[in-house]
C-alpha cells in the first residue's frame, strides 16, 4: 500500500510535491534547515526548509507526519504535511 506525504514547495500556496513513505527507514535532521529521508535501496531524499528550526524540531515534525500518514486508512494515499514553521519547504530532491 503506497503512502505519501504531500508538501507545499516554494510557498504556502505553491505547488505540492509527493514524498514516498514506502521503504522509508530513517529520518535525520542534519542541520537547522535540512531533513534527510533514507530509503531501503540507499536513496536519500533531502528536504530543505527556507528558515531554520533548532534540532530536533524538524525531525520530530516529519516523524510525526510519517506516523500519522501510515496510520490512515488505505483510501488516504497522500497525507498533507504542513511543514513546520513556514507551512512550506524550499526544495525536495532525491539522490
Amino acid at each position: 500500500m503506497e503512502k505519501f506525504l504531500k508538501i507545499n514547495v516554494a510557498s504556502s500556496g505553491g505547488p505540492t510535491q509527493l514524498v514516498a513513505l514506502h521503504d522509508l527507514k530513517l529520518v535525520e535532521q542534519t542541520s537547522t534547515t535540512v531533513v534527510k529521508l533514507s530509503y531501503n535501496g540507499g536513496r536519500v531524499t533531502t528536504i530543505t526548509w527556507p528558515n531554520g528550526e533548532a534540532f530536533p524540531a524538524l525531525q520530530t515534525s516529519v516523524q510525526n507526519a510519517v506516523k500519522a500518514a501510515l496510520a490512515t486508512g488505505w483510501t488516504e494515499v497522500a497525507y498533507p504535511y504542513l511543514a513546520k514553521k513556514d507551512g512550506y519547504v524550499d526544495t525536495i530532491a532525491t539522490a
Binding site: 500500500m1 503512502k3 513513505l21 514506502h22 521503504d23 522509508l24 527507514k25 530513517l26 529520518v27 535525520e28 534527510k36 533514507s38 530509503y39 531501503n40 535501496g41 540507499g42 536519500v44 534540532f55 530536533p56 525531525q59 520530530t60 516523524q63 510519517v66 506516523k67 501510515l70 496510520a71 490512515t72
Partner: protein
C-alpha cells in the same frame, strides 16, 4: 496478495552537545591520562559531568576500535577529564592529538524512528573492542543501506550481543501489534540467558 506493512522502532537517542578534534595529546604520554584537550572549544557552556564522549577516528580516519568515555570533570573550556567506559578490551587512556570525537548528553534525548521491515541482519558488522556499535543492514537482494547505532556501554558484559537480543525482541513485539500501530518502543538489552534490563543509552543513529 502480500502487502508489506511499514513498522518503526521509536528510540530515545541522546542529544549531541558537541563535536570536534583534539588539539593535543590527552593520554598518559601527553596532558593525561584520560583527558580530552581541544583549544577551540567552550566545554563549560556545552558539556556536563556524565556526558558521553565517543572517539571514532583520528584526523578523519575512522578507527576500527573506537573508544568510549564518560565525562568525570569539566576542567575548563578546553579540557575534560574522562572515565574510560565500554568493554575492558576497548578501554582508552585519553584522546590522542587529532582524535575525532562526539559528545552526547547523559540527560537530554529526542525520539528517532528507525524502519525495521527489510532488515536482513542486525549485528556488529565490524566487531569493535569497545562493544559500542550495532549495524542494521537492509535489503536482501541488493544491500545498499546500513544504519548504525552507537550506544553507551558500562562494562565487558554490556556487549553487542545483549543489544542484538534487545533489538530482536523489540522487533518481534512490534510486529505483534496490529495496524494502525506504526511504531513501538525499544529501550531494553537482553542477555543470552534472557535477563532484561534497560539499555544504558543510544548515543546516535546514523546512516553509514
Amino acid at each position: 496478495m502480500y502487502i508489506k506493512m511499514e513498522k518503526f522502532l521509536e528510540i530515545d537517542v541522546a542529544r549531541e552537545v558537541d563535536s570536534g578534534q583534539a588539539t593535543s595529546d590527552g593520554t598518559g604520554s601527553g596532558n593525561g591520562p584520560n583527558k580530552l584537550n581541544d583549544s577551540g572549544q567552550n566545554f563549560v557552556a556545552t558539556v556536563a559531568v556524565g556526558d558521553w564522549v565517543y572517539v571514532y577516528g583520528v584526523n578523519g580516519t575512522p578507527q576500527a576500535s573506537p573508544h568510549l568515555y564518560q565525562v568525570a570533570t569539566v576542567d575548563s573550556n578546553t579540557e575534560l577529564t574522562l572515565t574510560p567506559k565500554g568493554a575492558t578490551a576497548g578501554l582508552g587512556t585519553g584522546v590522542v592529538n587529532q582524535g575525532d570525537y562526539y559528545i552526547y548528553s547523559n540527560t537530554v534525548t529526542q525520539s528517532q524512528m528507525v524502519g525495521v521491515s527489510d532488515v536482513i541482519t542486525a549485528r556488529e558488522n565490524t566487531p569493535d573492542a569497545a562493544n559500542v556499535k550495532l549495524n542494521l543492514l537492509y535489503n536482501r537482494d541488493n544491500p545498499q543501506l546500513s544504519i548504525q547505532f552507537v550506544y553507551a556501554n558500562n562494562g565487558a558484559n554490556d556487549n553487542s550481543a545483549d543489544m542484538m537480543n534487545g533489538y530482536n525482541e523489540a522487533v518481534e513485539n512490534l510486529y505483534h501489534s496490529t495496524w494502525p500501530n506504526v511504531t513501538g518502543k525499544w529501550e531494553d538489552k537482553i542477555t543470552n540467558a534472557g535477563v532484561v534490563s534497560k539499555a544504558y543509552k543510544i548515543l546516535s543513529i546514523k546512516k553509514v
